[in-house]
Symmetry: C2
Subunit: 281 residues, 2 copies
């Protein structure tokens, strides 16, 4: 059993805290939370055994989990590696991997770092959003696993096994390409949808009344918060632009077909889109 | 108790059949289903007491529900009104209302028709998709209710009460504007998302692996079928184009902000989109 330090007790950090403790991987959770309201809530919800200052967490935890927005993590990680003794392991759980791996590439303690992206979440954030079982059955990306020491890697693989995650190994730049193509674009389409509906439909009651399950699920991700998503979109700029351009072309194809009453073409586009059924149930 | 004829035993017609029967509103369900495979399935699933030819359904049912794609319904409805005796009521459940109301506006039997849009559904279609409780708690639009006879309207209001739907009264053109703004655009963004991901991400395994809950829910509506959606988009062309243009402007605003690393602007857009939280939980 390990003493696990979790820096950032939000949706991801908080949910990890719950299951690592309940499932006996962590003997003790040391939480670090800079936001006083979130800290108070995390204590009330008993997500951590105690809240400690950042330096104490690094000094006392055997495994340190960095679960803060990627813009903060990219600066925090080298600092943690500067401070840790050789028996400790540090991981991050951020949604972009290239810049963060680059930031510690030549750090002498690089082998003690394991770069991961557990592909799980909801549109909510903060300790209030933490929930048991969040990671069960989902994929966890290990980026650049070959740069971690075998011991550190094995320990973190075990940790994610306890969380019931399927490990997938990928290099950081591939990770960022594929998450832009599948995950980041979904958030952008939801944000744009919310902005559109809020702009066109001035009467909130109409939105509420007419939002059958369809709109609610499509717009769900638009509730995701800026602290997390601004740095992701910024760090993954090139891949994100690339996929946005393709997306706008597809939307334009629909627009043209609808404008011309070209029902055969609309049907062709919908039939093609329907192929997603075979992949995602 | 009524003999209810349902023309089209798909998701909507089939789900109505289940609850109208189970909840004692319909004594008997007469189904009409032109697709032989769907007809076989509907019989196996006992969605209707019997399947009958179109003409028999009109002759025998007290309430006739037209639950076929709107392109078919717009031609079928005047024909049904031509055939019905004064004791019968006919309704449709289509997702666009202006053209269909226009098609029967001057029909001498117009008072026997009630134009409705139960705002419920899933991304699946066919009798296989029918489910109990589909309509519970959702809104049902009554379009141009003042053109129906008080008796016909009252009967259909009672029917939707049995389905636990909240009635909302709206004129057909307003209905079409608001559903374009809230519902139709959601489907288009999902279709375009599916096309994008299928285009960019050639490896299906990556889609499967990287599709955390976020992508799956955003792309869900892209499974919706062309038979239903082609005529909706075509009939509601002007409203749909209008909302698509706004959508593309919003997407373009995101694109420009990401391209320029303008984090303050990205944050502004996300914060604005987040306002949807206050309306949709």
């Amino acid at each position: 059993m390990y003493t696990v330090g979790i820096i950032g007790l939000g949706l991801i950090g908080g949910s990890m805290a719950i299951d690592l403790k309940r499932r006996g991987f962590a003997e003790r959770i040391l939480g670090v939370e800079s936001d006083p309201v979130a800290a108070e809530a995390a204590l009330t919800m008993a997500l951590a055994n105690e809240l400690v200052p950042y330096e104490d967490c690094i000094a006392r935890a055997g495994i340190i989990v960095v679960a803060v927005p990627v813009g903060v993590a990219v600066k925090m990680l080298p600092d943690i590696l500067d401070r840790i003794t050789p028996d400790k392991i540090v991981i991050d759980v951020c949604s972009t991997k290239e810049q963060i791996c680059q930031a510690v590439k030549y750090h002498p303690h690089r082998p003690q770092y394991v770069s991961t992206h557990p592909m799980a979440g909801t549109e909510y954030s903060g300790p209030w959003a933490a929930q048991p079982g969040l990671f069960d059955g989902r994929a966890c990306i290990f980026a650049q696993a070959e740069e971690s020491s075998p011991k550190a890697l094995k320990t973190i693989e075990e940790m994610y096994k306890v969380l019931n995650m399927r490990p997938i190994y990928m290099d950081p730049s591939n990770h960022d390409v594929h998450t832009a193509y599948v995950s980041h674009i979904s958030h952008l389409t939801s944000f744009a949808l919310a902005l559109t509906v809020l702009d066109k439909e001035k009467d909130e009651k109409h939105i509420f009344d007419l939002a059958s399950g369809g709109f609610a699920s499509t717009v769900r991700l638009a509730k995701s918060n800026a602290d997390m998503w601004v740095p992701i979109l910024s760090q993954n700029r090139d891949n994100v632009l690339h996929v946005m351009d393709t997306y706008m072309e597809k939307m334009k194809a629909f627009r043209d077909a609808v404008a011309e009453y070209d029902e055969a073409r609309i049907r062709e586009l919908i039939d093609e889109a329907n192929k997603i059924k075979k992949i995602i149930r």
